[in-house]
Amino acid sequence: MPIKTKTKSKSNHTPKLKFNTGWEYAPAPESKSHIKLKDQYDLFIGGKFVKPQSGRYFDTINPATEEKLASVAEANTTDVDRAVKAARQAYEKVWKKMPAAERAKYIFRISRMIQERAREFAVIESMDGGKPIKESRDVDVPLAANHFFYYAGWADKLEYAFPNRIPSSLGVAGQIIPWNFPLLMAAWKIAPALAAGNTVVLKPAETTPLTALKLAEVIQESGLPEGVVNIITGFGATGADMVYHPDIDKIAFTGSTEVGKIIQKAVAGTNKKVTLELGGKAANIIFDDAPIDQAVEGIINGIYFNQGHVCCAGSRLFVQESVYNIVLRKLKDRIETLIVGDPLDKNTDIGAINSQGQLESIRKYISIGQKEGAEMFQSSCPIPKKGYFMRPTLFTNVSQSHRIAQEEIFGPVLAIQTFRTDDEVIEKANNTPYGLSAGVWTDKGSKIFNITTKMRAGVVWANTYNKFDPTSPFGGYKESGYGREGGLHGLSAYLKI
């Protein structure tokens, strides 16, 4: 890449990378030839794909092309009931009684089969949800397989996980998952539930049902006893039917805080156990002694990973005043290099916004930000004419009261604020109803632990961001929900202890 040096530089500008030199990346699309998609998907109940009683189907589209990928069954109240009955029967007759080490072997099998079919899963995930193939290939799918592998191992070791207790399963778990990490969220939900000895009714989001349905095929192939996992598709109403179903023992929900609160209310007075993984508005804090280039990469990854459709996205950036100018300049330069476009292209950094509705919501927040007086900067990159795309965006001159600093946008939009002292940034970072995650960047270890101790958030990344692992608990404080997924703590959500 040519470097343009300003010989008579008037300021302290270092040589700047020049990006508009006409160099372009050749298209490098991942092939779709090896994937198998049906035109129509039924509900996966009792180990078989069955027609919905509702008789209705809806389309799932590719947000990058607006083309239909498949039509998918819409489960109504009767369908939900059938799925719960199948899960209950499998629980009572088979799964509950099976020796734990045998249960484990089925879960190991599922993990191995996801690994075997990783490429197919990755491509379908990118087609159905819009995320860049490099993310679905390197993050979503391997993590999903690893999650099954990790929890498989726990199945026959539960008595070690909770000292002085004999843990037992809950029964039927109803699980409702979001559209931002469709397969990964299915794995996060199903794997610990099965390891703990429960059976499952899972509902993927209406815009991204395909990888969950492919997972149903894998589950069928794995020989998992019929009814242990049931996967039903539909909209919010289907989810509501699950929440209100009297024979579900546990609700696990990942999604918006708004819906989470409705669920918490709905299960009041029942014996249903609940875990909620809800929204976030994470603070990513850059101190003046941070390694700036690394921090800039961390900011980019924190907010633009998966188009910003990440509940733990680092959507509020706090920069210490003394390094504000250099951080902002490097950030803008870096944003200019991000490639927005075809999710299946291996060079793409930012894929398609998941749905038209979400795109409109992001646009609404961008205009709110401008109206409230914040200053907007957007990449000058071209975006495809068809499909739902959004340029990476940041706002400066943001104040604490701005809606873009308070509300979850769930898109590639960063709100930047500055601070002078540790106490100030701790105060500002915690000034939110959310508490899912936070990031801190400094070369000083003692400062890291000071900040991580003070953050009211469930996951705090130090000199890194958006890192996930099956062994590591994930979940929020405050209105970001309760309960943890992952690790030892993720098990207890599915057990009577």
Binding site: A101, G153, K157, E424, N450
Partner: protein, 316 residues
Amino acid sequence: MDKTIAKNKTSFSTNGQTTKKTSKRVDVLKTYKNYIGGQFPRTESGRYYVPTNAHGEQLANICLSSRKDFRDSVVAARGAFKGWAGRAAFNRGQILYRIAEMLEGRKAQFIEELIKQDSTKSNAQKEVNLAIDRLVYYAGWCDKYQQLFGTVNPVASSHFNFSVPEPTGVVAAIAPQDTSLIGLVSIIGPAIAGGNTMIILASENKPLCAVSFAEVLNSSDLPGGVVNILTGKPGELVTHFVTHMDVNSIIYCEPDPQTQKDIQEKSAINVKRVHFHSSVNWFTNKGQSPYFILDTQEIKTTWHPIENIGGGGSKY
């Protein structure tokens, strides 16, 4: 499969001393060798012994390993330690699971060898199945025992303080002598799950499965040198195991009090961690536990300062 086993049962044709022929084809006999550093060398000593089964039938010419073979194995194990201990715990789990997959695919061979070594067919099947399940069990533990045995310690000062288990290093073990496979697997599983590398001496009188298990390990993505398997006589080698200065831990499974005392005394030479498992029935669930992993772990505690834990005021 059953047919093959039955045939071989009536024609132990090891050692070149064919007793009875049921087919015209001349069987190709396997040379049983050591497994050191991912290779299958014969013993450098050139010596052999011929164990027999209960019917007095000769099993095979088995390497009678020497002190030099053991010392070579320690070099291989030490060389492999850094890489193996440095693997992600998850990756170790995948490899242990792969070992189980490989063993599952070669069940018939192991059942056949166990029958040769005086097992009934049904017991042989049980033993092989149990060995596979035990490997899966330890595959699961690879990324979990840290969460049980590690701690975050609430020290009274402004410090973040945590303790994590780390592998002891090179483990030298003498496999349980009364079984050919399950004892061996039950000792190897927890040691390598915990990131150690090891040398294990097979059962003297039932060595066949140990050598075949080396072949399973060799096709399982397990790096060479992580597990080194020798055949020979414990009575001759145990002293060398215990006195070697680059061995960190010793595992001995026989109930012989004189040898136990000897091991304890000699281990003092470099403060080896000594573990005796003489009362364990490897065929039961008592034969598997994360505490076997803990046997070959050290605990490391890290202190790190936290700024102004009291919260009052900025440092500026």
